[in-house]
Symmetry: C2
DNA sequence: CGAAGACTGTGACGCGGGTCACAAACGTCC
DNA sequence: GGACGTTTGTGACCCGCGTCACAGTCTTCG
């Protein structure tokens, strides 16, 4: 239980995420956080395993302790569209947890993934006790809204290549590492995975990527991308 | 100031919106609401007048007391896309008010419109005093997120006619009146206005609408639409 | 090592829907 | 009741991008 909290010497646990480091618990009384941590559940998903599906009841929020989670929806035709890919330290599922509604998107593990889940009861108890937590939650929700609005805009009024450019920008910023050759995207994704994300076809994405590579705007190193000129993309 | 609050005999003021009737103030101590109302500002916009633009600083939330407000963004090419059209009793601009960030969308009046604005300071004072208000705000934000996610899905994975169908459904539900002939959409919009909303061209929209009219799924009565068979659309 | 499977690269083709260019119908203001 | 601005109706044309159908290349595992 809550082994995310285990802190010790240089073990594997070091790569884990500690709750108190999360934005949402910033400025919160450590004892409150610890109490939440004690009541939190830990759970491991295998690669490809489904955590929840669209329409499921929701009563918990999740934190990615280690691994990779994909959030998606399905079209009427049954095609899955990726909304986001989350790695260590990401919080998700908070809307369902907060309002008790059904899940509007599905979540599944892209790799073996360890999650920490916090139940609604636990969270609301803390919410009642600490006004700062309230502020943090509101901030989180506002950030989410700004993010979805931005992506919404992309989706409605940008063309496919521009949408891809946005995603690359996001990847470079959130999952990139600066190297002499450019910003290296650490998060390795196949073209199909990126295509689902940008809501375009794998073939189309391929062509755009190669065009950019020819223009020396990026380097493709078998799945590993290096973005050279983010501005011009 | 706060003439939205004026309650009296059968005057024009009756059509106005009273703060305490809003969802966001549901279950809140009347004296708290009244205090907010006293500090609230009232403002009238002429038809077409801009309330705020993308990138503006934000420090207030607005309530439509009477009239019609359009929320929009602009594409890189400069085309405006409508995100929503709001009428009496609608609350908007809360994100900017809550997190103090810049506005991500613009707002302007489609008709002569009276608004009530509530400043951040005022709101946060009430937020500190009443935990129920906190719940309501979180609920509001969750609802917003669910709404944007849904529209996001529409935008990315439905085709133009389906997007239009969604908007019609929304119009029928929120701005419709049941009549023997079908659900009459009270909110009169020109085809151009609807086209901006569905992110399609006016011509394209026209053709779809006429096709549906031929199939007797709806009746067009110069701007006034009557939806007959919402299911099949 | 060799075969099977996953991933990437590329052309041919088609369709949805945007753009353009009008014509017709309606409103509204002297 | 003209006359002008706005809204609606329609066809011709075009382009982005998805689909299909392959051919290479990498990976993995018996």
């Amino acid at each position: 239980m809550a082994d995310v909290q285990s802190s010790g010497a240089a073990t594997d646990a070091d790569r884990s995420v500690k709750l108190e480091t999360l934005d949402i618990f910033k400025g919160i009384d450590p004892s409150t956080v610890e109490q939440i941590a004690r009541k939190a559940q830990s759970r491991t998903l295998e690669k490809g395993e489904l955590l929840f599906n669209v329409g499921d009841m929701s009563d918990a929020l999740y934190v990615v302790a280690e691994g990779r989670v994909r959030i998606w929806t399905v079209s009427a035709a049954g095609a899955e569209v990726t909304l986001n890919v989350l790695t260590n330290g990401a919080v998700f599922g908070e809307i369902g947890m907060l309002d008790g509604g059904v899940r509007t998107a599905g979540a599944s593990a892209m790799l073996r993934t360890r999650l920490t889940s916090i139940a609604r009861r636990t969270f609301y108890e803390a919410l009642d006790r600490d006004p700062q937590l309230v502020r943090n939650v509101i901030d989180l929700l506002c950030r989410r809204l700004r993010w979805t609005s931005a992506r919404m805009e992309d989706a409605t009024l940008r063309q496919a290549p521009q949408r891809l450019a946005r995603i690359l920008g996001h990847l470079a910023r959130d999952h990139g590492k600066a190297t002499p050759r450019g910003i290296e995207v650490v998060l390795k994704l196949t073209q199909s995975e990126m295509a689902q994300w940008t809501a375009m076809s794998r073939e189309g994405l391929n062509k755009v990527l190669n065009r950019w590579a020819e223009e020396r705007l990026l380097i493709q190193d078998r799945g590993g991308l290096i973005v050279r000129d983010l501005e011009r993309i």
